[in-house]
Amino acid sequence: MAMSREDILQQVQEILIDALGVDDDEVSLEATLMGDLGAESIDFLDIVFRLEKAFSIKIPREELFPAENLMNNPEFVSNGKLTETGLNEIREKLPHTDLSEFEKDPDLNKLGDLFTVNAIVNFVDNRLNAA
């Protein structure tokens, strides 16, 4: 099913407004789910379920929000920062996310900032419109 990015964005915004109880003007493309919109871990699952329903797709939890496995693996994390191996892992896992800012200072605490509204739209766009 082909959908334009605007249509996807609009649906994603509605989902986030419902799931997180935020106002529509808060859900900008750059807004981070945890920092700006106050999402907690259970909300990520809620959002995944809602996305699956709205777009009729199946989303393995690890695929959209793979942070948990990463944080618990000493190979990927050292001194509270991601190692080069960890960065490679996240590049591979999050092809739909812009990592250029994060790579300059891959602090674990900033991992939450990677999950933006834009990243979700990219993910869904990839899923629906990839050839």
Partner: protein
């Protein structure tokens, strides 16, 4: 003692939906204080009743292998007061079920009247907090608890109906 806010199941479709019944009575002491002179069932207890109905439904869907806890109230909207003498019908449905969580929707009605819409999320704590231990008594949705008897009752009702059906044929 446990507060249980449903009296029995009248329908139970494993992994999909369930309907429970709750009869409200003035013997419930909290009604005398909520509110003095105007006894109504507290809305938070209706949420709890729905959480019990859907929680059992979610737990049973995976044979109570996981500990199921209420993780999020996605929606709770109330349309009317509930008073002593009311019979409530709690209809619950599983919307999504994954290894680590479930999402449910629910409606409470009294006769034709819609009383509440309550959508919930449950977390399977075993899958989300691997290795951490919890005291067993905190968890109610297993076969041995009072809730187990609710399930056995609905199972025997269905069996009775099945038997009656086959006699008619």
């Amino acid at each position: 003692m446990r507060w249980i806010w449903i009296d029995k199941f009248i329908e139970f479709n494993s992994g999909r939906s369930a309907v429970a019944l709750k009869n409200v009575t003035l013997a419930e002491e909290h009604l005398h204080d909520h509110f003095p002179g105007f006894p109504v069932m507290p809305e938070c207890l209706m949420i709890e009743g729905m959480a019990q109905t859907t929680g059992i439904l979610v737990g049973e869907a995976r044979n109570f292998e996981e500990k199921v806890i209420l993780a999020k109230i996605k929606k709770a909207v109330f349309f009317d007061y509930v008073k002593a003498g009311d019979s409530l019908r709690l209809e619950a449905r599983i919307e999504s079920l994954a290894p680590e969580a479930a999402s449910t929707s629910g409606r409470i009605t009294r006769g034709e009247k819609l009383i509440a819409e309550i959508d919930l999320m449950f977390s399977h704590v075993d899958k989300n907090l691997a290795g951490k231990e919890f005291p067993e008594e905190n968890f109610v949705f297993d076969d041995a608890s009072v809730f187990g008897s609710l399930l056995r009752n609905v199972a025997s009702q269905s069996a009775d109906r099945g038997a009656a059906g086959s006699e008619q044929e």
